[in-house]
Structure formats: C-alpha cells, structure tokens
Symmetry: C2
Subunit: 408 residues, 2 copies
C-alpha cells in the first residue's frame, strides 16, 4: 500500500489541522447515535423502534408540488421543454416568487436572493466567503454545521482542555435561565455571529425584542450576523420575526433559509470597509463553487409558493406542529420541563443534573425510542434531550404514550 | 448606508486576499462574453445568433430518464413513495450501478463512490479537503474552476507581473507542440496535480502512454492527482483511458466525473503520511458541507445506467460528436489547424499569431457566431478559440457554412 512520503508536510498539515484537533465532535456523535440504533435493533429485533432523532420529514409532499416536478421532468424530453444549465443564482421566476412570499414590504430585491440546494451547503459557501481569519460566535447549543464548517475552514482554533470547545469560537450560552438568548453584556465581540431562529435544537424562536438587541449589538461592534431561519415557516407567534430583515438596520446582514429548497439573501448594502459590496463576492463564489440547484427542484419550489402550494405546505407544517404539541404535552404531564415545540418542530427537554447520553440510552433501552442527547449540540446542551416532531401521527402518539408510562 | 468600521481588518483581509489579487480572471472573461453577446444582439437585432460558446447541451433528455424522474417525483406525494433525506454519499443502488457501469474490473468499491451535484461542486469540496497550504499544478489551458477555486481557498498566491498567472500555481503548458501533454522533465513538483481528460477546452484525450507517465511522475514525487473525467463518455478511441483508474498504481489518486450527475471516487488506499485514510475526511466534508444530490436527479442517474438508458445517452453522445465532426471538417477544409473534437465535444482551433479576443470579436461581427477566446482558459490558450459542439444540428450546419464562407 502506497503512503505519502513524509516530505508532503504541507498537505499533511493542512488536512491534519482540522482532523487531529478533533474535527466535528458533533459529527462523531451523530455517528454514535446511528451505531446505538443499530446495536439496539440487533439486541431487540422484534421491538417497534420509533425515531424522534434526526430531523427528517416523514409525510408525503403535497401533490401540487410533486406533479409540477413530474411535469417539469417529463418536459425535459421534449424539444420545447428542454433546458440546459440554469443561472447559478436560481431561476428568475423563483427568485421573484421568494421575495413576494417572504419579504413583502422588507425591501429585499430578487437580485439579492441566491437559490441553493439547502442550508447546509449555504453555510459552507458563506464560510468560504468569510475565510479562515474571522472570529465567530455561535449560539450554544446550536446546529453542528456552523462549528463543523468553521473547523474545516480553519477558524476554530485548537480544542480546549475540556475537549468540548474550540479556542477561537465564542460559545454564546442560550438556556432556560436567559430565555434562550445570549447575555450580550458579557459576550465578546466577534466578526461574525451565526444566529439560528427558530433554533435547532432548542426550538426557541427569538422575540422581536431579542432580535432588536442582537442587531444593535452587531452594529455597535461592526459584526456581521448570518441569520439562519430554516424553520421560519413553523413560527406561529407573531411576536417572533420570521426573518432578520423585519428588524430595522438589518440590511447589512446575510440571511438564509430552506423550505425544501434553500436560499440566501445578501443585501446590496453589505459592504467591506473599502466600500466594495459583499454581494459581488458571494455571487462569484456561487458561480465558481456551485452549479445551481436542480431544475426539477426549483420547479417544485416555485409550486410551493403558488397559493395552492403554500396552503398545502402550511397544512404539512400544522401536522408536524400538532405532533410537537402531542409530545410536549405528554412530557409536561409527567412533570418534565419542556421547551420549544411552539414555533419549531423540535422539543427540548430538561433533565437537570443528568448526563444527556445516559438519559438517551435509558430511554432507548426502556421505550425503544431514539432521541438526540443535547450535548451533541454543544456544551450548554448537556442535561437536555432533543426530540424531533417529524413522524407519522400514529408513531408520535405511540411514542408519547411510551414516554408517559416511563416517566409516570 | 452602513459600512464596516475599519477595525474589522481580519475579515476585510480574508475576503480581500482573493478579490484584490484579481480573483477569477476567467470568471470575468465569461462575463465579458455575455456582455459581448448582449451588445451584439442590440446592434443586430434581426441577425440569427448561433452560440458555440458555453458548453451547454441543447438536445432533449431521453424519455427513459425523464419518465423515471417524473415517476419518482410523483411517488413523493404517496405514503409509500415518500423519502426524506437520502445518504449524503448518494443512494446505494446508484453507487453500485456507477461501479458496474464505469469501473468493471478496476477494483473500485461502491463505498469509494460519492455521488454529487456535479463536477464544479466536487472541485470545491476537494479543495476544502486540501486546504490553503498545498501547492497545485494545472494544465494550461484548463477549465477555469481549478484556478478559481484555488484562489478562493487561498492556494494561488499573488498575481504575477503579467497579470495572467498566480505565483503559487504551476501552469503546465499543453499545446500542439507537446501533443497537449506537459513536459514533465521540466515540471516542478506540486502536492496536487489537477488533470482533465478529455480536456476542456482543448478536447484532447490523453493516451494511455501519457497517463502512465503522469502516474509515474506523481508517484515519484509523492503528489496526488485529481483526475477530472467529466467528458469520459465522449471518448471514442480505445487508446485513451476513460478513467485514471485504468492505469496501474493510480488507486492513490482521486477521480471525479459527471454525466448529468457527478461523482467522486476516493480509493481506500489514499492515505496521509501517518497512515490515516483520506476517504474518512472526504466523507466528513461531504456530510458537513453537502446535503446530498437531489433524490429526483439520482433516480434519473440510475435510469441513465440501465441498459436502455445507457443506449439512449450514447446516442446523444453520438449526436454531439457528429456535430463536432461537422464543425471540425468545415474549419479544416478552409486550411485552419483544428484540434480536439475526436474524443470530446470541444473543438480547439489555432489562429497562430492572433489575439484570441480579436478573432472571437471578428467572427461574431462577421458571422453572428459566439465562440470562446482561448486566453480565457489560461495564458497558453492565447491564439486559440474553443468551439462547443453542443447545439441543434441545423444550427451546427448553418454555423459550419458561415465559418467556411468567412475563411475561404
């Protein structure tokens, strides 16, 4: 077997930097959950396993959307319907429809909308734009992709002694004690603040007041906010903005979201200190590092935004939110402290003083239900579990009943 | 309008590094071609413009593929047909089908195949893996994405005095004088060699002998080859390997390709100097920075690889290759030196002593045909034009006739 000679140190170092320092702690934990699941199935081959783990949808896509995609696909085999590469930034009609549906009265232009293949890919492209020399702050706990991509790009620094935090990342603790909003008075300045609302995993949707404080903090410090609103369509409470752009003064930040299809908004006013618009560079990254989202998926996205499609998607949202309600009520009824679930499809359950991995394993052993230990989302997630509300109704009802029995 | 305070130097620097040093020369030239086209349309609103410019397909997708995609899309609205996230690495059935169709007897395992959304995205993910500290070598001329992504990642160094080359990139001249294969005796060592065959823009497919020399050179130097075979299905000549993995000793390199759908192969044997397999890190990048290719597109990809689909795709290839033949013969018949077109859908025409931008503009003015100046693909492309053979047959015939008239 061939090995690189040890003289290949430059490449070795570049790759080792993020691997040897413990790349993707969270990634490894996801892997552990899959393994836990496999071991459990082997141990109890006849048990009916219910997964409230990975946040993956289970209900069929509304027919108005799938039939549009099917028609689009079928047309590709006709001379009139065939299209080659579309624009990397997305089809004009879709960009316009996104503005109309989500940014009415918010001054967002369709040329500021970049259609993508989802939030996870957008995060990486934004990180490519930022480069390795910026300092970043993230909510703790948070969706692992911010920190993982930060490690890959080289922003994160070394792992600290506790093995749970990177030295160059500012972890903004968000828990019940601060209403899931960081204490900005003690938060050091960072070049970039990743902020996700409604939050994954806690399910907390920031209030207008909280977002106003965040925008002021960022402007005072010359920080850029990258606002992730992938779950905005689950927001029920009108005091919780669905977009950062509802907050005055926020047009200097970037926002991205994903309802089956994703997009990123980069306002024209976001400038470098020399006055050059950031949108020009983001456009270059999109054109250089991305082929554009699948034509068929974009056709489906456009169908989602028709009035019929919007209604159909909203009833799916209602379905999952009713699931969240069922799970939340069951857990609260046995005296557990439950957060989230009101404006997001995630339930965040507190087990004070417990190790979340232990609780996760106990629940699996006793009820055959997969959950996610909160510590997988960052050190402040310790003592919590995340339950996803995606699932068929009968599975959710069954899971609620099993959990009630366990904790009664 | 808000501006970043000048104290935000770290972020400013990270972004400026690749922009101020002349990011994406080629990107800007593509932009210039679009502008040229728009100006021409304005000047000659009634002329029948024919584009042999951007390499974008024009013929309908075979029905076997579109109907499979349509059926897959339709099924998503049924309880049985619905699927959520697939594996980031691609569906197992597709990975197996790729191995069977392309790597029979070449020891490639389906677990070494990573399905993607196309070559351009794969290049960026490979660059993320490599990091900013490696040295790279590229064919000159070459597809702009290697150098553009290298600039974005931070490998490229400063632009040299001539404004056409980056200081830290090794440009391997490939022209008629060396049968489009670099003179390896004078090529300095680089950590990574990007090699594209059949080549875009020259249309040259490297011979087995050439690839054997390349593999030996890389092994002797401890370099990694990243082999781009996006146009492998156009290869007609059996002396030209369709995959780097046909060359013994090449299982320590990475290869990627894209026939409507893309994939990258990372063999298990590709190791860091400490013995750690690179495939583990590439897998992490794919899982962290990518959501997986669209389910519908993967269903279409699988249909391409059925025997009926394969046949249909091959007759499309034949169609475009006949286009290439028509264009090549027309240009040769008027005494021009023509390269490529035999194993790739690109024609590379030599205009010795001319500035390729001038030739491009003259042809547009006289014949209303869009071409691409060779200098857009690197300094060694000066004096050449690239013509794409993608187009409807009647447009190709018309273009061939106009060019013959012009140069007779």
């Amino acid at each position: 077997m061939y090995k690189f000679p040890t003289t290949l140190t430059s490449m070795y170092l570049a790759m080792q930097t993020w691997r040897s320092c413990g790349m993707a702690i969270c990634f490894l934990r996801w892997f552990h959950i899959s393994r836990l699941e496999l071991e459990h199935i082997e141990k109890y081959p006849n048990a009916k396993l219910i997964s409230l783990g990975i946040g993956d949808t289970t209900e069929p896509v509304p027919q108005i959307i799938t039939s549009t995609m099917a028609n689009y696909a079928n047309a590709l085999s006709t001379a009139d319907g065939y299209t080659g590469y579309g624009p990397e930034q997305g089809h004009k009609a879709l960009r316009k429809a996104i503005v109309k549906a989500f940014y009415k009265d918010l001054q967002i232009k369709d040329t500021e909308v970049f259609v993508s293949d989802g939030a996870q890919c957008d995060i990486t492209r934004l990180q490519l734009l930022l480069g390795s020399k910026v300092t970043i702050a993230v909510q703790d706990p948070s969706f692992p992709a911010y920190i993982d991509s930060s490690v890959i790009i080289g922003q994160a620094g070394d792992l600290k002694g506790d093995g749970e935090r990177y030295g160059s990342i500012e972890y903004m603790n968000c828990g019940p004690e601060n209403n899931f909003f960081p204490d900005l008075a003690t938060t050091p300045r960072a070049d970039v603040i990743f902020f996700c609302s409604p939050n994954n995993p806690t399910g907390h949707a920031a209030t207008r007041k909280q977002l106003e404080l965040l925008v002021k903090f960022a402007r005072d410090n010359g920080s850029i906010i990258i606002f992730d609103s992938a779950y905005s369509s689950y927001v029920q409470d009108d005091h919780c903005p669905r977009s950062i752009f509802e907050i005055p003064g926020s047009r200097q930040f970037a926002g991205f979201t994903g309802v089956r299809l994703g997009w990123t908004v980069v306002p024209d006013e976001l400038l470098y200190s020399n006055g050059f618009p950031v949108i020009h560079d983001f456009n270059r990254i999109v054109c250089t590092c991305f082929n554009g989202a699948s034509n068929v998926a974009q056709a489906g996205g456009l169908a989602c935004l028709s009035s019929q499609g919007f209604k159909a998607v909203n009833s799916l949202v209602d379905y999952y939110m009713e699931n969240a309600n069922i799970l939340g009520e069951a857990l609260a009824s046995v005296g557990l402290q439950v957060y989230g679930g009101a404006n997001a499809p995630y339930i965040w359950v507190h087990f004070p003083g417990s190790i979340s991995w232990d609780v996760c394993k106990d629940i699996l052993e006793e009820t055959h239900i997969i959950t996610v230990p909160g510590s997988g989302f960052g050190p402040s997630g310790e003592g919590f579990l995340r339950l996803s509300a995606f699932g068929h109704r009968e599975c959710i009802l069954e899971a609620a009943a099993r959990l009630k029995t366990l904790f009664l």
